[in-house]
């Protein structure tokens, strides 16, 4: 459906519309192409395209094929290979490989170039799941959605599988010949015209290679570019200190945190660590516990904003003014301070905030967000200094990057040089610059002027098609490497599996230009660190590995996944005197709309667009799947509805939009979203409108990473490309946006419906109103909790006994003997980051069903994050609630099953017997929590060979027609129980972690034996703020909640 470029040119929507309205043509139509009279190549090639397959919309098959499939994986079916070099299992793993038992290997995933330490499960040489590496300071055993989902990318059959030269398959030897010639030529001209483009590089070994190349080719240049750039952070440090330093925040020591448009809990390279530190500082064990207090000023609700005790909704462009006001009030001296004001700023806000911060000198943090201009970062540094936080909660270190530069400038310069014909050879190592480049830089056009374009990438994408050499890259689970974590700790990367498609890593490509043919990734990294050790002159770092000196150390490093003592020491940096923060940004103008660009919380900058798990993952808050949207507040939506112009989209306008997928007007299910045209600085893009409470009025939020033209079977198509209006001048936000209605509609699919009732700020949200009436979310302030600890308890008339005229029947099960498994979810800690959802999907082989099936309410996630709003629609409080199977002791699902396929076991787990299930779905109807998921079709892909490698062999792959649900990761429980029984030992509390619990960056999920005195879960259950969902139904849930607590500032009246 998405083919607009049929060779003849673009679609002419205007004429299509006339034809449709004229009624001369047939009434029903399948695609715009059909109406336009363009032959659809799909239909031409497949005469059954309109047959049962499409009528019954088994589009999920596409979704499955993307995940797996395709005969091209012949190599996989045969066997998997362990890499030939010696990799070292994680230290806690059993020695040697026992068939059927997993081994764990510590490695690291690059995310924005920064190491996210992971621990990968390997079953018989196949990585099946990743967890956080507890030895790595950046992850501390926790993982985010991207880490969890990365294992699917490894097995993605859409990955580039062969080396391609000018569009046809080529061989590695040809490429060697080519690079030899290039090297020879550039050696002659000292590297003139040789350019290397990478993402952010933190790898010391890679940096060493790059500097070697720059030494050999003095005229060559190395550029870096990341679409989700941290230029503002670097420039902010430059502005404040005159040098680029890394800022490390110690949230575990901060009592007061002010986030200025910063999503530090989710969207920075250190987020996994920060989320845990923040949650630990916030955790409430009893009435005496102290909570930290978070203030967030932001335009679009983020996971950090939702956690805020006080959230001030300002447009991103107003945050700078706010920072100025705050800095002035805190006594920061700088030029250009207090130039601007903010209309409608609650009067008590700043004063209360300042008083609160000043009473927490040395234990507060002010953090500026990556989208904010350097001045805000500089002010944040100055405020931290003024509050005495530096050295305590805010620590400065050397930059973790090999070469911290302003990447946008670097990229601009590269593009200019390419335009000017100064670039002969361009080596692009990863990234997808053609897709992610700022739209005002003609990177793609300039690329044509480069003679030799070599692209190393995981996928055949927008960049690979424009390059004459495309070398398939290795996935990080197939590569050797080293990366720095947020604090500088070097994290080692080791391959768990030999490259599936003979890919190469960036290290290996660079050796060709170094003239060191034949060096493998392993030798490069190993030798580099051996060299480092001998330079340090430490003991054992001799050149002879026979003595076992360095290699023993190397082994221990690999075991732990980190290189000891490589974290950077704190550095003393002084604020520049005469800090100038005069605003260079446009003053926000209330009458015009403002656009805010954000990395998508699922597909990020587009690097995860072809990942089915992430695509189907309901985005935090919006619960949107498979698409991005133009998100606005209810009030802005109303304004647009009233006053937005109406435009007719012409063909070319669709080029960067969602071609061919609109239907007009035809809301068939009343859920379609109107498509609007965004015009920003002379460029336009169209996308569907989605109303999201909490966005600042006048702010229009779009996420990146969608509208891909070449991304693979999953990623190509969905959503619209926000890069099409993202310029180098306004990479994050900008005013002067115009929005026009197109009269077209598009079906966005959300997994939790929100029906708005009422208008404007008096408006409410129907589902949330009901949820709060039903006491599903229980809330208090910390002070209210101290006064009335039992606030979350059911009122006496709502208890099970009070609700029934009949005496409580004795349970058919004896739950008196341990272990009795139970779980608590602390709503005060949960940040709603979705990591648990993907962890569960990966652990339990949960199928991806595709957009169409999600729109029918058939998504399969065993755990979901519900979102509710309280208060008016403009500035609502937002609540996340993680819901999974409650493992009821008195389960309503159980007694209605005609075949006994779901039964409560002696240890309190409500067990699902897949092979006994006949699929009556009665259990789901009778489940008050609606946590059961049904295989309406054969959702699991039973035929794609690549997915065999991905799956957890300890979990059944469900067939069509059976019910499934959360099992408390029973496979993990049983394997530990068996182990304990074999060894005649007792199970230790904390030994068994469910997948969701293990990954939760906020440690909000606690699982264990509720009968074991002193176990973590038993302690949590003793907390007075524990409550169960819908306990009045006498379900006796084993999963219970700890009520949400706020630590509000009593001086601020909401």
């Amino acid at each position: 459906m998405s083919c607009q470029d049929n060779g003849k040119g673009q679609l002419d929507l205007v004429s299509i519309r006339t034809r449709l309205e004229g009624g001369a043509e047939k009434k029903f139509w399948r695609s715009l192409n059909e109406v336009a009279g363009i032959e659809d190549p799909n239909l031409r090639d497949n005469e059954f395209a309109g047959g049962p397959g499409s009528r019954f919309q088994i589009n999920r098959r596409n979704a499955l094929k993307l995940m797996g499939a395709s005969a091209a994986l012949a190599g996989l079916t045969a066997c998997t290979k362990m890499p030939t070099e010696h990799i070292v299992p994680y230290v806690n793993a059993p020695e040697g490989l026992v068939p059927g038992k997993p081994l764990f290997y510590a490695t690291a995933m690059p995310w924005g170039g920064v190491a996210q330490g992971v621990l990968a499960w390997s079953f018989m040489g196949r990585p099946t799941k990743v967890e956080g590496n507890d030895k790595n300071p950046g992850s501390q055993g926790k993982a985010n959605v991207f880490m969890q989902a990365s294992v699917l990318d490894l097995y993605d059959p859409d990955r580039s599988q062969v080396l391609i030269h000018n569009g046809s398959v080529s061989g590695w030897s040809d490429f060697l010949v080519e690079t030899e010639e290039l090297r020879a030529a550039h050696l002659r001209n000292k590297g003139e015209g040789l350019r290397i483009l990478t993402g952010t590089v933190t790898s010391p070994a890679l940096g060493d290679q790059l500097s070697d190349i720059l030494k050999q080719f003095p005229q060559a240049q190395w550029h870096q570019y990341e679409a989700v750039s941290r230029d503002n952070v670097r420039e902010g440090a430059q502005l404040a200190f005159g040098q680029i330093v890394e800022t490390v925040y110690r949230f575990d020591q901060a009592d007061r945190v002010v986030a200025l448009d910063s999503d530090f809990l989710f969207a920075t390279p250190a987020s996994v660590r920060y989320a845990l530190d923040f949650a630990n500082k916030r955790r409430v064990a009893g009435p005496d516990s102290k909570m930290n207090r978070l203030y967030v000023v932001e335009g679009v609700p983020t996971m950090t904003g939702v956690q805020a005790d006080h959230r001030l909704s300002l447009r991103p462009s107003q945050v700078e003014a706010f920072a100025g006001l705050l800095a002035a009030a805190l006594g920061v001296k700088a030029q250009g301070l207090g130039q601007s004001s903010i209309p409608n700023l609650p009067s008590d806000w700043i004063h209360a905030l300042v008083r609160d911060l000043q009473s927490h000198q040395g234990s507060s943090i002010i953090i500026a967000g990556d989208p904010q201009p350097p001045a805000v970062h500089a002010l944040a540094h100055a405020m931290n200094a003024a509050l005495g936080n530096v050295g305590k909660t805010v620590v400065y270190t050397e930059s973790i990057e090999v070469s911290p530069i302003n990447q946008l400038q670097s990229f601009k310069q590269l593009t200019n040089d390419m335009e000017a014909g100064k670039v002969e050879t361009l080596l692009i190592l990863g990234g997808n610059p053609v897709y992610t480049a700022p739209v005002d830089l003609p990177f793609a056009d300039a690329l044509a002027k480069v003679k030799d374009r070599i692209y190393l990438g995981l996928y055949e994408d927008e960049t690979s098609i424009l390059c004459n050499w495309h070398v398939p890259a290795t996935h990080y689970l197939e590569s050797w490497g080293d990366l720095r974590a947020y604090d500088g700790t070097v994290s080692t990367m080791q391959p768990l599996i030999a490259p599936l498609y003979d890919g190469k890593s960036a290290y290996e490509i660079l050796t060709l230009f170094q003239g060191q043919l034949g060096r493998t990734g392993h030798t490069i990294v190993h030798d580099y660190w051996m060299g480092q050790q001998s330079q340090k002159g430490q003991k054992g770092a001799t050149a002879s590995p026979a003595e076992g000196g360095f290699d023993v150390q190397w082994q221990t490093w690999l075991e732990k996944g980190i290189i000891d003592r490589t974290a950077f020491a704190p550095r003393q940096v002084a604020l520049k005197s005469g800090l100038d923060v005069s605003s260079t940004a446009q003053q926000s103008d209330d009458s015009s709309l403002e656009i805010a660009f954000m990395p998508d919380p699922s597909v990020w900058d587009g690097s995860f667009t072809n990942n089915g798990w992430l695509q189907e993952l309901p985005r935090p808050l919006s619960k949107l799947t498979w698409d991005n949207a133009v998100m606005v507040s209810p009030a802005t939506a109303e304004l647009l509805n009233r006053s937005a112009k109406r435009v007719k989209i012409k063909g070319p306008g669709l080029g960067s939009g969602i071609g061919g997928k609109f239907f007009n007007p035809g809301p068939t299910q009343g859920t379609e979203n109107e498509v609007v045209q965004l015009s920003f600085q002379g460029r336009t893009v169209i996308g569907p409108l989605l109303i999201m409470p909490g966005i600042a009025d006048g702010c229009v939020a779009v996420t990146l990473g969608y509208g891909r033209e070449r991304a693979g079977r999953i990623g190509t198509g969905p959503g619209f490309n926000a890069y099409a209006v993202r310029t180098s001048a306004n990479p994050w936000f900008g005013t002067g946006l115009e929005v026009a209605k197109t009269g077209m509609y598009y079906n966005l699919v959300v997994t939790q419906h929100h029906h708005l009732i009422g208008q404007g700020s008096k408006g409410k949200e129907e589902e949330s109103v009901s949820a709060f009436r039903r006491d599903l979310v229980r809330i208090n302030t910390i002070d209210g909790y101290r006064q009335n600890q039992d606030f979350a308890k059911d009122p006496p008339d709502m208890t099970t006994d009070a609700q029934s005229l009949y005496p409580t029947l004795p349970s058919p099960y004896d739950f008196k003997k341990g272990p009795q498994w139970g779980m608590t979810i602390d709503l005060a800690s949960c940040i709603g980051c979705n990591a648990c959802v993907i962890a569960c999907q990966s652990e339990n082989n949960i199928a991806v069903v595709g957009k169409d099936q999600v729109s029918r309410g058939r998504e399969m996630h065993w755990i979901r994050v519900d979102t509710y709003y309280r208060g008016g629609l403009d500035t609502p409080e937002i609540y996340n609630e993680v819901v999974t199977c409650m493992q009821c002791e008195n389960a309503p699902c159980e007694y209605v099953c005609p075949v006994g396929a779901t039964v409560t076991g002696p240890d309190g787990i409500n067990e699902m017997v897949y092979n006994r299930c006949v699929g009556t779905r009665y259990c789901s109807n009778n489940c008050p929590y609606k946590v059961r998921r049904f295989n309406f079709y054969l959702f699991s892909d039973w035929s794609a060979p690549s997915l065999f490698g991905l799956r957890n062999p300890e979990v059944t792959v469900r067939s069509r027609g059976v019910m499934e649900k959360c099992t408390y990761c029973v496979q993990r429980i049983r394997s530990h129980e068996i182990d304990a029984e074999e060894k005649g030992r007792q199970l230790v509390d904390g030994e068994i972690l469910t997948a969701c619990q293990q990954t939760c960056p906020a440690d909000a999920i606690v699982f264990g034996d509720i009968l074991q005195p002193g176990s973590k879960v038993a302690k949590m259950r003793e907390q007075p703020r524990r409550y169960g969902l819908l306990e009045e139904l006498n379900t006796r849930p084993r999963t219970t909640y700890l009520a949400k607590l706020w630590n509000t500032n009593p001086e601020i009246k909401v």
Binding site: V899, R921, Y929, G961
Partner: protein
């Protein structure tokens, strides 16, 4: 009308004065000839057309079911939270329709209601076919229909039994028992008529077939004696089943904790509703049947009037149940129940509720009080059709509306039917009518021997001897 025949005029009619149960002037022979004439005569063009339409719908049903079996139950529009929808609605609806046959045959037989004679045979057939249609749905709605036998307590080698606390297992017993007894009752009733057909048939094939089916019936006094006893016994067995089947079906809902399902009034309410829709279906079948096969002498206006009254009576019970259901929701003070009832009337399926209220309450309550409506074939047919649609919608609302917004607002959703939903619904109607067409063509739609008995009794009541010829 002709001058009133003294045979029927002199004796007061049992139920109410009015038209006779049997048009005057009939003898044993004329009754037999008229009824067997339909079967042994030539096939009429109209029959072929009607049958073709019904058979086409059977093919549609086949297509729908084939897709369901081949691809999966996801072909229906069901989802989470609405995991039951059309299939179960159809099931309950057809089971309900299947109630009138047995009620008329067994219950009224025990009550010695002689007006039942001319309608009981096709009402029984209707029951068999309706229950057959109903029985299909639990099967096709299963995720893994090939494992349906796991719901039966068969001697499994692993010693696994059904889970007897589940109402679905009770359903299996209730429906299969009901079907078996109804089928037996119907077949036993057919035995003397098969013999009549055997004797009257000219074609060899018909002779042999009816001969085999009549199981050697010779019409001896002993045969008649046994037949009478057997009929009464089966009637005695079937009568409680009329009440029990729909009670058990209602347990499918009441046992669950879903607001809108979990209700104590469902058993009587469902039984009344079942009889209501059953009688509506009998009316909808009787009116065309008597017109097409010229059976006005046997299915008289008096019959229609009586059935109209029954429709009115059961309709009042149904209407009362609706009111009580709403009342209990509020009186219970249960927040979920209250929300469900408000949502039922004003929510996204509110329009469906009000259509069903119109079909089931307002239309019958307004029109059936009128003698003119009850005795007008056209009007009565229309009112019965309303009731039939209303009863389908009632089950739809109970099932779908209750499920679509239950306890967790985050899991609320909407059900939208797919083409398969409609295919299976209309296909099942097609199957029902196809079977009925075959029945009307091949088997006596009116019990011959009971009509002859009626001729005898009518004459006896009049104090004369019935005419043979």
């Amino acid at each position: 009308m002709d001058p009133v025949d003294p045979l029927t005029e002199e004796k007061p009619a049992f139920l109410s004065p009015g038209d006779p149960f049997l048009a005057p002037g009939h003898s044993y022979a004329s009754v037999t000839d008229r009824i067997t004439g339909v079967i042994l005569g030539r096939t009429r063009k109209g029959w072929w057309i009607g049958f073709a339409i019904a058979f086409f719908l059977v093919l549609v049903l086949n297509y729908g079911i084939t897709m369901l079996f081949a691809i999966g139950v996801g072909e229906f529009g069901i989802q989470i939270p609405v995991a039951w929808a059309f299939a179960i609605t159809n099931f309950v609806w057809w089971i309900g329709i299947g109630h009138a046959g047995t009620l008329i045959s067994a219950f009224l037989l025990l009550m010695r209601q002689k007006w039942r004679t001319s309608i009981n045979r096709f009402a029984e057939a209707m029951t068999i076919f309706a229950v057959a249609c109903a029985g299909m749905f639990p099967l096709v709605h299963m995720g893994r229909p090939w494992l349906f036998f796991w719901l039966f307590p068969y001697p499994d080698t692993m010693g696994v039994w059904p889970q007897f606390r589940s109402p679905l297992v009770w359903d299996v017993f209730a429906v299969s028992t009901y079907f078996t007894v109804s089928l037996l009752f119907w077949y036993v009733g057919l035995l003397p008529d098969f013999a009549t057909l055997r004797d009257k048939a000219k074609a060899k094939f018909a002779k042999v077939t009816y001969g085999v089916l009549s199981m050697g019936w010779r019409g001896s006094a002993r045969h008649w004696k046994r037949h009478e006893v057997c009929s009464l016994l089966l009637a005695g067995l079937a009568t409680p089943l009329v009440v029990s089947v729909h009670t058990v079906v209602s347990f499918d809902f009441t046992i669950a904790i879903v607001p809108g399902w979990h209700s104590t009034i469902f058993p009587p309410y469902f039984v009344a509703g079942a009889i209501y829709s059953g009688f509506a279906m009998v009316i909808m079948l009787a009116i065309p049947l008597r017109a097409w096969f010229h059976l006005e002498d046997f299915i008289t206006i008096r019959h229609l009037n009586n059935m109209g009254k029954l429709l009115l009576a059961t309709g009042m019970i149904v209407a009362y149940s609706y009111v009580m259901e709403a009342f209990f929701s509020f009186y219970s003070a249960d927040k979920f129940e209250r929300y469900m009832m408000i949502d039922r009337m004003t929510g996204r399926y509110g329009i469906v509720f009000w259509i069903l209220a119109t079909c089931n309450i307002f239309v019958p309550m307004i029109f059936l009080w009128w003698h003119k409506v009850r005795t007008s074939t056209v009007l009565l047919f229309i009112v019965a059709t309303f009731a039939q649609i209303g009863m389908w919608l009632e089950r739809f609302v109970i099932i779908v509306q209750s499920l679509h917004r239950d306890f967790m607002p985050s899991a609320w959703g909407m059900f939208y039917p797919t083409p398969t939903d409609w295919e299976v619904l209309f296909g099942s109607i097609g199957l029902f009518f196809a079977l009925f067409y075959l029945f009307a063509r091949l088997l006596p739609s009116i019990s011959i021997f009971e009509m002859r008995d009626l001729v005898h009794r009518t004459a006896e009541d009049a104090g004369v001897i019935a005419k043979v010829e």
